[in-house]
Symmetry: C2
Subunit: 255 residues, 2 copies
């Protein structure tokens, strides 16, 4: 089977629509191992955009947390971990860390979480995040000397961890790929799909997800939204942003 055909089948397999030949084909390619941190206070959309792409890449996704207790997300929907830190595979093709400002801030000073992210990060093929998840990668010492991004309002904090804050939707530097805020998860997922499975598969996934975005307004970045709206967001987020900054400084002093 040509690789292009095979990859198309891979996407189908994950959607439960595989034919017998697809299933047979899927045995020919190594499945990916993805370790995704899940944590209380995470933004569910940070996880689900990339997760949808991971699944279509024929991945075994491990949703890892300290315990098997469901973690509560911003959306009200809880996510059940599939493994504990202790039971999680020690190595992975991809480590993925979603964000969520208040959740990330708490996790940055949680030794268990940081230790887990560091251990899997140093043993994974790709070290990745979306939104404020990059602060956690930074706290684990995984961004030293790397260009990286984050949600627009926390991007500059990455410098505290020895990274070069970089303004882009998705930033790839070596094996580290970081995405911008929340909705960047889909752009990130497709970028990673292209690296891991080739551009044809990434485009197949994009068409299947009908990712042809047409935002009704031009307000997705501070530059497009304008000063007044950006100031309003920053003002309203000031307490949480101050807390994140303070935590990042304390952590940075130790790594």
């Amino acid at each position: 089977m040509k690789r292009r055909d095979f990859n198309a089948l891979v996407a189908l397999t994950s959607l439960g629509l595989a034919t017998r030949s697809a299933s047979a084909g899927s045995e020919a390619e190594k499945r990916l191992t993805v370790v995704a941190l899940v944590h209380p206070g995470m933004i569910l959309l940070d996880l689900v955009g990339p997760l949808t792409c991971f699944n279509m890449m024929m991945a075994d996704v491990h949703l890892a947390w300290k315990t098997m207790d469901p973690v509560r997300t911003d959306s009200g929907v809880t996510v059940a971990p599939t493994t504990t830190f202790a039971e999680c595979p020690p190595e992975a093709d991809v480590l993925f860390v979603p964000g969520g400002l208040s959740g990330t801030t708490a996790m940055m000073e949680d030794d268990d979480v940081v230790g887990f992210v560091r251990s899997r990060g140093t043993r994974s093929g790709w070290v990745t995040s979306v939104c404020t998840g990059s602060l956690l990668l930074g706290a684990a010492g995984l961004l030293k000397g790397k260009r990286a991004t984050s949600h627009w309002y926390t991007r500059d904090l990455l410098a505290l961890f020895g990274a070069t804050p970089t303004k882009a939707r998705v930033v790839a530097d070596g094996n580290v790929i970081t995405g911008g805020g929340v909705t960047a998860g889909i752009d990130f997922g497709l970028t990673l799909a292209a690296r891991l499975r080739g551009e044809d598969t990434a485009k197949f996934i994009q068409l299947l997800l009908e990712y042809d975005p047409q935002p009704p307004f031009h307000a997705g970045s501070p530059e497009e939204a304008g000063q007044a709206l950006a100031t309003s967001v920053l003002a309203r987020r000031a307490p949480a942003l101050e807390a994140a900054k303070a935590a990042a400084r304390r952590v940075a002093a130790k790594i």
Copy 2:
């Protein structure tokens, strides 16, 4: 408090970052009631994009299914319903139906599900869907005489239900708003936010979600992806699409 300031606070409240004044302010505006169908085989991203926007609009979101048993989604993550059909509020500001091709096909001929969608649809301020969810709205008789959209590969089926299939990311016709495939949920959510809470709030949400999409490829629609890729997707999806078409025809003969 000015409405603009208030709306900014609303967004914050839903993220758990509200100050005391925000909480006080939030009592001044009526909370939205959203009824969202959840069903086995749904695409989690169909739900989570809109859900993120609903929550930022200060909504009470009811995730409704036949029972309280968690429903399994494409992603492997299960979603716990918050209410059964029987216990669900009879009226809502918004009825929302996510998609998922095989799941939707099964639901179209499930009398309990169709009956629930019809009853809430006729009593809701806005009748909405993303992706193949519009097939279920159609099966419930809610799209007669309406312009509507769906995932690109099921859009034409809407004609069977008396709708006018319309090619657009988000289609609004009266109180019916339908979105395209999967990732259109974010465009849909912002469109609805503007209708319900005003453009300033919608833009605030867009900036907070950093919705500044930059797909790495141009393959999000059949036109952009090109004939070969579109044919490949259609060929691979043929069995599921044939099943959806057959179900839609059977249902259409009865409504």
